[in-house]
């Protein structure tokens, strides 16, 4: 169990935690990149998902979702490497690649959420004289919150989990610890880095689970459980 001892030694060295290349600094960088990627993806995916769900285009909308889902087969590593080879290195490339990765998840959950709103409810809203904007803002979005929250939680956790790949192509974040360890064949460090990234993901997921509970109105919480399962 030499590797485990090495990993414990690495984790116990305060110099690995503080300073510009330390775990704390890398975590900060990691979370900032996550935030940027999720914001970038949300700005496009959420309005598009709302619009597709709201307009109930049927087949056309389904095709968009299928197309978006197919991009899941596109390896994030490939996007990162293609961007790097095209001359876009570092954190910007990482954020773009992670945003591309986050896009289909956000799009399909938003779409499913808005589309799942009972047509009788939107009909009633329209009958009360609400315009399209108000139907979306006051009726469809609030009712889609469970799906949106579940989708955002899944997306954020997956982005936190994907960003480490960027380190293979010279990007920042916590993946650096792992990729440096592989490069120098220090497997204790690799193990330590793997554990740190895994713990960060579990922590983020836990915090978001609480946030998801907080933003979901109690009346739709039962449905939210079903939504979380479906995502």
């Amino acid at each position: 169990m030499n590797v485990v001892q090495e990993a414990i030694t690495w984790l116990n060295d305060p110099l690995n935690w503080t300073g510009p290349g330390g775990v704390f600094a890398l975590t900060r960088e990691h979370l900032l990149m996550t935030l940027a990627a999720v914001l970038l993806a949300s700005v496009v995916a959420i309005p598009l998902g709302v619009w597709l769900g709201h307009s109930r285009l049927g087949r056309g909308a389904a095709a968009v979702i299928v197309a978006a889902n197919t991009t899941r087969a596109l390896p994030t590593l490939a996007i990162i490497i293609i961007l790097a080879t095209a001359g876009l290195f570092g954190d910007t490339a990482t954020v773009i690649a992670a945003a591309v990765f986050a896009f289909p998840v956000l799009l399909s959950t938003t779409f499913t959420g808005v589309r799942g709103v009972d047509p009788a409810i939107t009909d009633a809203a329209r009958g009360m004289g609400m315009g399209a904007g108000r139907v979306i803002g006051r009726v469809e979005l609030p009712l889609a919150v469970p799906y949106l929250a579940a989708g955002l939680r899944t997306t954020i956790v997956q982005v936190v989990a994907t960003i480490p790949l960027a380190a293979l192509a010279g990007g920042g974040g916590l993946g650096q610890i792992i990729s440096l360890g592989f490069g120098t064949q220090r497997y204790g460090q690799v193990l330590a880095g793997g554990v740190i990234v895994a713990v960060l993901c579990l922590l983020v997921d836990g915090v978001l689970a609480l946030a998801q509970r907080a933003v979901t109105p109690s009346s739709v919480r039962a449905e939210s459980r079903a939504a979380a399962r479906a995502v």
Partner: protein
Amino acid sequence: MPGNPWFSWDYVTANWDAIREALVIHASLTVEAVAIAIVVSLPLAALATRVRWLAAPVVGFASTLYTIPSLALFAILAPFMGIGRAPVLLGLVLYALVVLVRTAVAALQGVDPAVLDAARGLGYGRARRFWTVELPSALPGILTGVRLATVSTVALVTVGVVVGYGGLGNLLFRGFQSFYRAEIMTATVLCLLLALVLDVLLWLLGRALTPWLRGRAA
């Protein structure tokens, strides 16, 4: 740098042997991982639907496992299992398993209890009811899970490059190190094609296995 095109047919013909080898590794890893995951996940899912209190921990454990990043998982496995095929395969099986268990549990739980009651009323035993009623009813949901697992496994294999065994990921990374655009693009396109081909095959298999759904609006 004169002439470093993204697409180059010359590259493909000149390096076909290496490309084919990577493609075969990639495809066999994917198929093997998903096949093992199916064999393991179905009994787990069946057990989780039968023993009610098991469902939450099984799905919870699967979700927890899924939040662990692939790079981290390979990083955790590699020191113990060495470099090569074994850690990659185990990692892929674990991720596919997580997807399959979650979808299979949802699919089995979604089977109409009235249908199961009817089967019981007709005198079906437990085993016969499972194989002839419950499993076929849940099959569309299970197959959706298999397709999802397959497509994401194809993408995930590339990460195996960190332990030296990533199929097309090896080409991707080699292309990155030598700044060879055609190699990177070829590997990426082949990944997408492989995923597409496997997805279509599974879709056809699904249609063949569920003839009773064919008449309905797809």
